[in-house]
Assembly symmetry: C2
Homo-oligomer: 412 residues x 2
Amino acid sequence: MNELKGACIIGQSGGPTSVINASAYGVIDTALKNPNITAVYGAEHGIKGVLNDRLFDMSQEDPKELELLKYTPSSALGSCRYKIADPDVDDTDYKRILEIFKKYNVRYFFYNGGNDSMDTCNKISKYMQKVGYECRVMGVPKTIDNDLYGTDHCPGFASAAKYIATSCMEVYLDARVYDTGMIAIIEIMGRHAGWLAGAASLASAYGAGPDLIYLPEVDFDMDKFLADVERIYKEKGNCMVAVSEGIHYADGTFVSEAKTSATDGFGHAQLGGLAALLADAVKQRTGAKVRGIELSLLQRCGAHLASETDIEESFMAGKAAVENAVNGITDKMVAFERSTQDGHYVCKTKLIPLTDVANTESKVPREWINAEGNNVGKAFVDYALPLIQGEPNLPKQDSLPRFAKLKKVLAK
Amino acid sequence: MNELKGACIIGQSGGPTSVINASAYGVIDTALKNPNITAVYGAEHGIKGVLNDRLFDMSQEDPKELELLKYTPSSALGSCRYKIADPDVDDTDYKRILEIFKKYNVRYFFYNGGNDSMDTCNKISKYMQKVGYECRVMGVPKTIDNDLYGTDHCPGFASAAKYIATSCMEVYLDARVYDTGMIAIIEIMGRHAGWLAGAASLASAYGAGPDLIYLPEVDFDMDKFLADVERIYKEKGNCMVAVSEGIHYADGTFVSEAKTSATDGFGHAQLGGLAALLADAVKQRTGAKVRGIELSLLQRCGAHLASETDIEESFMAGKAAVENAVNGITDKMVAFERSTQDGHYVCKTKLIPLTDVANTESKVPREWINAEGNNVGKAFVDYALPLIQGEPNLPKQDSLPRFAKLKKVLAK
C-alpha cells in the first residue's frame, strides 16, 4: 500500500437531496478517524469553496451535530452549479485549486454530486495527475434523478421515490372523495430520465397510484395523452396521472416549454409549470375538475420520508470513498452493485473510472415501459421497492425535525 | 335519561383531511359497541348517500380495517359539497331524508364536516324537530382551515399545520444551498382565514421557516409585499415567504384572481396559481431565482405527517358525539376546550348549539399578527405547538402506508 498523509476536502455539488449529507457524514466521520488524514475540510459551495479559499474545519464541529447530518436534507456545506472549464482551454481554475491544495496539503479530494459534478471531479483528477501533484480524487454519487452511469442506483433516488410514492397514495385517496370525480396530474422531477416519475408506480402497485405515467424516455403525444386520460376518466370517473417534467415531443421540444407558443403566445413561461399546462389541456378536453400538482422541491428535500436503506447506503458510499482512497485508489467513483442473498436485497460498493462516468446518463430501460408508452411495468417496481425500505429514527424536537446545526469554522 | 333505540348514520362532508376518518372511526367504533344503537350506517358521499339511499352497513367491515381508519387520510365514505336548500323554500330533500330515516329507523345522525356541513346538519336537525321525528343530530367538527366557531381548534388543522411546518423547514434548507441565493414562495390553503399559513411560523420558531407570512386577515398590498421581499433578499441573500391562498386586496379581490387582468388579460386563470403569480412578480422586481411552491392537496392528505394529538382528539370528537347523543343530547356540535394542567396542554370536549356554529367563521386574532401585517407572533406559535405533538405509529406495508380497505356493503 502506498501510504499518503495529508488533508482531505469534501465538497457537495449540484441539486441537493434528502440524504446527500449522509454521504458527507460518511466521508467526514471516516476521515476524522483515519490516522493518514491529517485534517478534514468541508468546502463551502462545492468547488467554489476551494477556489475562494473557504474551507470549514470539520474537526471543530460537535460530533453529535455531525451525526445529525444523516437525517438532515439539502447540502449542509452549500452546493454550486459551477461548470469548470476545459483545462486545455483555460487552466486558471485548476492552478488556483492546486494552489489551495498545496496551501492546506490536501492529498484527498472527495466530490459528492451527479453527472456534472463527476465531470468536474474527473477533470480535477486528470489535471492533478498531469501536473504530478499526488492527490487521490474520488467521486461520491448523488442524484435523485438516478441517472449516473455504472451504478445500480444512486444515493438520493430512493428517498425521493419514497416521497413520491407515498404522496401519490395520499393524493389518490384525496382526489376521489367526491361523486363528481376528479383528474389529478402530478408533475415529478427528472429532466432527461424518468426514474422519479416511474417511482409513482410503487403507489399503483399497492392499489393507490396513477393510472398513467409518462416518462421522457418515450416521445410525448398530446392527442394520445388526452385520449388516454379521457378514456380512463369516462371508465372510472376519476383519473390520476404522473408526468416527468422532462417529457418532450418527438422533435425534442419540452412539453413545458412548448406551452408558450401553444397556449397563449405571450411568453408567460414563468406562470405555472407543466402540471398547470396539462391540467388546462385536460380540462378543456374533458370538462372535468382537474388538479395539477407539482411536487417541486418537496420531493428532493422530504427527509421525513427518507428511506433508511438510502440513508445507510449513502453513508456507505462516503465511507467507501475514504477507505479506498486511503488504500491507494484514485480517479474513481463509488458505485453500487445489487445482488440477492437468501432472497434478500444486498447492496455492495464497487468502483468505476471517473472518465467513464463523466457526462454519461443512464435512462429507464425501454422494456420496463409498456408498449403504449403510458406506464411502467412490474420490472420497475421490482427494481425500486427494495431501495425504499426502512424507516429512519428521525431526531425530533417538539415533534418537528431536529436538523444538524454546524458551526462552520473556517480553516486557518 | 331519555332512552332512544335505533340506527345511526355517519356522513362525511366538505374537503377531506388527514384525520377525518379518525373521527368517523370514533363514531363507528363507539356506535357499534352501544346497545341502544341497532345499526351503524356510513352514508356514501355525505348527505347525498342519504338522498340516494346509498348506506353502507359498517358492521360488515373487518374490525382491523376499521381501526386503520385512524391513519387513513381523506374521506373513506366519500364526501360531497352539496348545499342543501332552505326548507322553507324547498323541502324536497328534507322529505326524502325523513323517508330514508324512517325506512332504516335512523334515530341518530352524525355529520362530520366544516362550516357548510354544520349548516346542513343544523337544517336537518331543525327540520326533524319541526316535523316531530325523534332523531338526535350531532355535528362532528372537521376542517384543516380551523375556522369553525366556538371551538379552540378543529380536528384536521394540526396535522395540516405539522405538514406545513415540516415541509417549510425542509424547503428552507433546500432553498439556500447555492451562493447565488433564492426566493421561495409557499402557497398554503385557507381561503378566508390564515390559520394554515400561520402554521408556517412553527418552522420559523425553530430557525428554519419563512421570513414573511401573509394572511387573509390583513389586506394585501403588492407594493409593500415586493418591497418586503426585496429588502430581506438584499439583506440575507435569500428569502422565504408563506402566503395564504386567500390573500386579497383592500377591495376584497383575491390576489390570485386579480392576476387574470393584471398579468395578461387573457383569462388564463387555470394556468398556475397564486405562488406562480407572486413568483413572477418577485422575479421581475428582484431578478433573483424564484420558486413558487403550492402545497396543494398534499397538505390536507399528508397523513404520514399527522399529529398523534390530532388523531386522538379527532377520534375523541366522534366518540363524544355518540356518547352525548345516546345520553339524550341533540342539535349540538362537539367542540374543543383547552386548558393547562401542571403546565401541560389538556383538551376536553364541550358542546355548542348547531345554530351558533352554522356559517360563522373564526379568524386569526388581529393581535396575533404583527403590526406590519407580514408575519405572526409568539402567540400563534404558543397556540399551535401543543396541537402538533406526537408521532402516530403508522401501519406500513413494504415501507409504504397501509390504508384501510373497506368492503362498503350496502345496507338492506
